[in-house]
């Protein structure tokens, strides 16, 4: 069987990828703005995210954290009437270039959502979904790839005996790790996480946090969180957003111990209003 044209494109795009070195910018926004219809949600954002590091985005509810994350893999395009301006590059490629190959782009930029959203298929089929759809892996190699991804998501030992069982039968924390495994199966280089632990109990949260900490070795991770301890635990750098604007961005330690801006200090000490 001939692989779909798109898969070859995606593979081609990947093979020419000079994955940026540790420390180089993997995602870079320059004067980036975004509108929902007439409402502007993001204002002139300029910031760069390091490759192979975890960066946290914090800020009050409605400040545009999710919006920004969804701009990076262009999920916002699913909503009619939206518009973007300015520059947003992932590994040097402009994301809002009309000529971009969206599918290849989304293969490079994986996403994990706030609520675990496994498909009502088997555990195996969930992980194999992306590689099957995009013909990234042959059928023969699929079991190996699935195992590898489940191991990386720290889920293998819990599910190895029931790969054919429905994914919806897993616990909330397991489902979220399954969603991470599913995203890893496309071997993205950037991983976006929108409050991945907000629906989990403390133990499941700890597991996912440990996982994120591990994954930073190989992936550029951008995580949105409302939990400041979580940001402090997993992220090397932290960005503070307010009302669609970037207020402060720096080393996590510095943001939490010696914020330069008054607004940041007010937010992290809970005197926000």
């Amino acid at each position: 069987m001939t692989p779909p044209v798109r898969a070859t494109l995606a593979a081609g795009a990947r093979s020419t990828d000079a994955t940026p070195a540790k420390g180089a910018a993997a995602v870079e926004a320059t004067d980036f703005c975004f509108w929902y219809g007439a409402n502007q949600a993001l204002f002139d954002l300029s910031l760069a995210f390091d490759a192979k590091a975890v960066t946290a985005i914090i800020g009050p509810s409605g400040c545009g954290k999710s919006t920004f994350l969804r701009c990076i893999n262009r999920m916002n395009l699913l909503i009619p009437g939206t518009r973007a301006a300015g520059e947003l590059c992932v590994e040097g490629r402009p994301v809002y270039d009309p000529a971009i190959d969206l599918v290849a782009h989304r293969l490079r930029v994986g996403m994990v959502f706030q609520r675990a959203n496994p498909f009502p298929k088997s555990i195996f089929a969930n992980v194999a979904y992306g590689p099957t759809l995009n013909a990234l892996v042959s059928k023969r190699d699929m079991p190996d790839v699935v195992e590898q991804c489940l191991r990386r998501a720290a889920l293998w030992d819990e599910v190895k005996d029931r790969l054919d069982a429905p994914a919806t039968g897993l616990s909330g924390g397991q489902q979220q790790r399954l969603c991470i495994a599913r995203a890893l199966a496309n071997s993205p280089s950037v991983l976006l996480m929108d409050e991945p632990c907000s629906a989990l109990d403390p133990i499941a949260t700890q597991k996912v946090e440990e996982l994120i900490f591990e994954l930073r070795q190989d992936f550029t991770i951008i995580i949105v969180t409302h939990n400041m301890q979580q940001a402090a635990r997993v992220a090397q750098r932290t960005a503070f957003f307010e009302a669609g604007r970037l207020v402060e961005y720096g080393e996590t330690d510095q943001i939490f111990t010696a914020p330069a801006k008054e607004r940041t200090e007010a937010y992290i000490t809970g005197r926000f209003g």
Binding site: G130, L133, P166, A167, T168
Partner: protein, 322 residues
């Protein structure tokens, strides 16, 4: 002045408690009674059908379903053409209606411009509410003339090598009845399938899209599979309507007690024969009993089809862990 003691709170609340306990009991009794009414009605109906059909069952037994002769004068009755007509028209109607309705439902929920989604959905709901005799009239005066003058000759000219498109072209025929049934069940399947698709959580679409699915792939690999059991439910609803549909089919099927290879030939259906002949069959005659026997078979077929469908949905849900 002797003050009247303040009203005893405990006593009043006890009283109202007792009252509400009574109210609860009556309410519960009513609920139980209405819950039992449905199965009771079913049993009573089945009993009526069985006792009414008893003479015919005694006279013909099981061969009633395998015999083809229907002669009220000679009191010989065989229902095979009726069962065949009902199943064939319903099958053909679903064959055409299911892909069309699902296509429309998917288009309406996933691809249509936002502005036209609601209006079209409303029109579809309206179509589902039109009485079947109106569909029948429209079928006779509008649809059949068109079919007879252009569609059927076209089919015969191009697909005449198939036995199902051979022979003289009658207006009222198995194919005409199937087509009117198609038009009648489509609104049902469409509106239920649309609701089911709308109920798929946005997270499913987002998950597929984020994993590199195009819009169309998200529909076929995530949204439709998620809605699978509901879609089967929609199809069952359509099938139920097609099997039991009486008026429009009676008006368009041609009412000939016969099994023909050609779809252009007239046929008959279970519901149609009951509607046509019940008035002329005298009470207590074998003819009336045979018609009741037909009703019993129609009832059994409907129940069986529904049970099979439910089993299928249950199996599917178990597989998906829902």
């Amino acid at each position: 002045m002797p003050t009247t003691p303040p009203p005893d709170d405990v006593a009043t609340s006890d009283a109202s408690l007792a009252l509400s306990a009574w109210g609860d009991r009556i309410f519960k009794g009513l609920l139980v009674a209405s819950a039992l009414a449905a199965p009771a009605l079913l049993v009573a109906l089945l009993w009526q059908l069985l006792s009414g059909a008893a003479p015919a069952i005694g006279a013909f037994g099981f061969s009633f379903i395998t015999d083809s002769i229907w002669d009220p004068v000679a009191e010989k009755f065989g229902a095979l053409p009726l069962v065949f007509g009902t199943l064939l028209t319903s099958f053909l109607a679903l064959l055409l209606a299911v892909p069309l309705s699902l296509g429309v439902a998917i288009y309406l929920t996933e691809f249509a411009p936002e502005r036209i989604r609601q209006p079209i959905a409303m029109v579809i709901e309206l179509l589902a509410a039109i009485p079947s005799v109106v569909y029948g009239l429209w079928g006779i005066f509008v649809m059949i003339p068109i079919l007879q003058s252009s569609v059927y000759p076209f089919l015969e000219a191009n697909f005449g090598w198939l036995p199902i498109f051979q022979g003289p072209i009658y207006g009222p025929s198995v194919l005409s009845a199937s087509l009117i049934l198609t038009i009648m069940v489509m609104p049902f399947i469409m509106s239920v399938a649309r609701e089911v698709l709308l109920a798929v959580p946005a997270g499913q679409r987002e998950a597929a899209t984020a994993l590199g699915a195009t819009r169309w792939e998200a529909v076929t690999t995530a949204i439709v599979p998620y809605a699978k059991s509901g879609i089967v439910g929609a199809i069952i609803l359509g099938l139920g309507r097609a099997l039991g549909e009486t008026m429009a089919v009676t008006m368009l099927i041609g009412n000939r007690h016969d099994i023909a290879a050609s779809l252009f030939a007239p046929g008959y259906s279970m519901a149609a024969v009951i509607a046509n002949e019940f008035a002329e069959a005298g009470l207590g005659t074998l003819h009336a009993s045979a018609l009741t026997y037909v009703a019993l078979i129609l009832f059994a077929v409907t129940v069986l089809v529904n049970a099979a469908a439910r089993l299928m949905i249950w199996r599917m849900n178990r597989g998906a862990g829902k």
